[in-house]
């Protein structure tokens, strides 16, 4: 016998690709008890107006997020690496296609 506490199922985060060629974009979440239900619920909720060509659903508990408290050590070190951007380089005047 499996004991079940009545609930609305797990939260699944939904990512929708609006057109092939474009990246999947976070749309929101749905509740579902299994993969197929998550996919169907996401389809019914987030693509009612022709918004999608592909959907990903991911259980919320499987998503790993960085924390805002770590954001300085995570993201600030890239602040001074301006040489990673093309605008850092000085091109000879008149040079084309570069």
């Amino acid at each position: 016998m499996i004991n079940i506490k009545d609930n609305q199922g797990d939260i699944w985060e939904v990512f929708v690709q609006s057109k092939s060629g474009l990246p999947h974009k976070h749309a929101g979440s749905v509740h579902a008890t299994d993969k197929e239900m998550a996919l169907q619920n996401a389809r019914d909720l987030y693509t009612r107006r022709n918004e999608g060509t592909c959907i990903w659903v991911v259980p919320l508990k499987e998503i790993v997020s960085s924390m805002p408290s770590e954001s300085e050590s995570f993201f600030d070190p890239s602040d001074d690496k301006i040489y990673r951007h093309p605008t850092h380089y000085i091109m000879p005047e008149g040079a084309k296609h570069i």
Binding site: I4, G9, V30, H31, D34, M37, Q40, N41, D44
Partner: protein, 252 residues
């Protein structure tokens, strides 16, 4: 019977089953077991109403008496509706609805698959579009049938009873008369005996996954072809038609 009369009747059959099942599905709005299901079931209802509108509009064109989709939906009486007996079954509990939708959607799925190559352009175009929709309806109801069948002991028992109770209305789906004969010859309609073979395969596959037993083929109800219905249909259309009936001079 002329070919035109036969075609008109055929369109009403298609349109009415979608209309009545759509009306039933829309009754679920705000009553689903989880909010997500309210959305799923109203989506299905919207697809079905869309199908009904196409076929009833086409019926008006065939008849050539200037009738609109609404004239057919709102101004006919019980004895003029040709929907399947299955489509008018009351919603009951969620399992009853899922079992009904599964049986009807599996039928629509195979029907529209074959009708997609109908020689009547309107019907084939309608079938192509509807097939996409009912493919999803079938998937939705089949997955739920499996969850309920292979869920708890309670859900298994409940949905097995739903299936057993609805089974006697499935024979009606496959009955044919001179309308079918005439239109099959023209390459417009399909032989429902062929549809039945495919339908049974689908039912068997899903019931096996759902750990449910296929009911015995006992007595089968009949009526669709002659517009003889259960008592439930009268109430459904009385409610649906209330406003145009109460205010005959008004336009909506």
């Amino acid at each position: 019977m002329t070919a035109k009369e036969a075609l008109l009747n055929y369109c009403l059959r298609l349109g009415d089953s979608s209309l009545i099942l759509g009306q039933r599905m829309s009754e679920w709005c705000s009553n689903g077991p989880i909010l997500e299901e309210d959305i799923a079931m109203t989506n299905i209802a919207l697809d079905l109403f869309g199908q009904a509108r196409t076929m009833l509009t086409y019926a008006g064109e065939i008849e050539e008496k200037g009738k609109t989709e609404d004239d057919f939906a709102y101004k006919r009486n019980e004895r003029e509706f040709y929907n399947s007996l299955l489509s008018e079954r009351p919603n009951g509990h969620f399992g009853d609805t899922i079992a009904r939708n599964f049986l009807q959607s599996a039928y629509f799925f195979h029907l529209y698959t074959t009708l997609s190559s109908s020689k009547d352009d309107m019907i084939s175009a309608h079938a192509v579009k509807s097939l996409k929709e009912v493919t999803y309806h079938l998937r939705h109801s089949a997955e739920w049938l499996v969850r309920l069948g292979d869920g708890t002991a309670e859900s298994h028992e409940k949905v097995q009873i739903s299936l057993d109770d609805l089974w006697e209305f499935t024979g009606d789906l496959f009955e044919m008369n001179e309308v079918d004969e005439l239109l099959i010859k023209e390459g417009i309609a399909v032989d429902l005996n062929e549809i039945k073979k495919e339908w049974i395969k689908t039912v068997d596959q899903v019931l096996e996954r759902a750990t449910l037993k296929k009911p015995e083929n006992g007595y089968m109800q009949t009526g669709r072809l002659n517009a003889i219905h259960s008592e439930y249909l009268g109430h459904l259309i009385a409610e649906m038609q209330f406003l145009p009936r109460a205010y005959p001079d008004a336009k909506w």
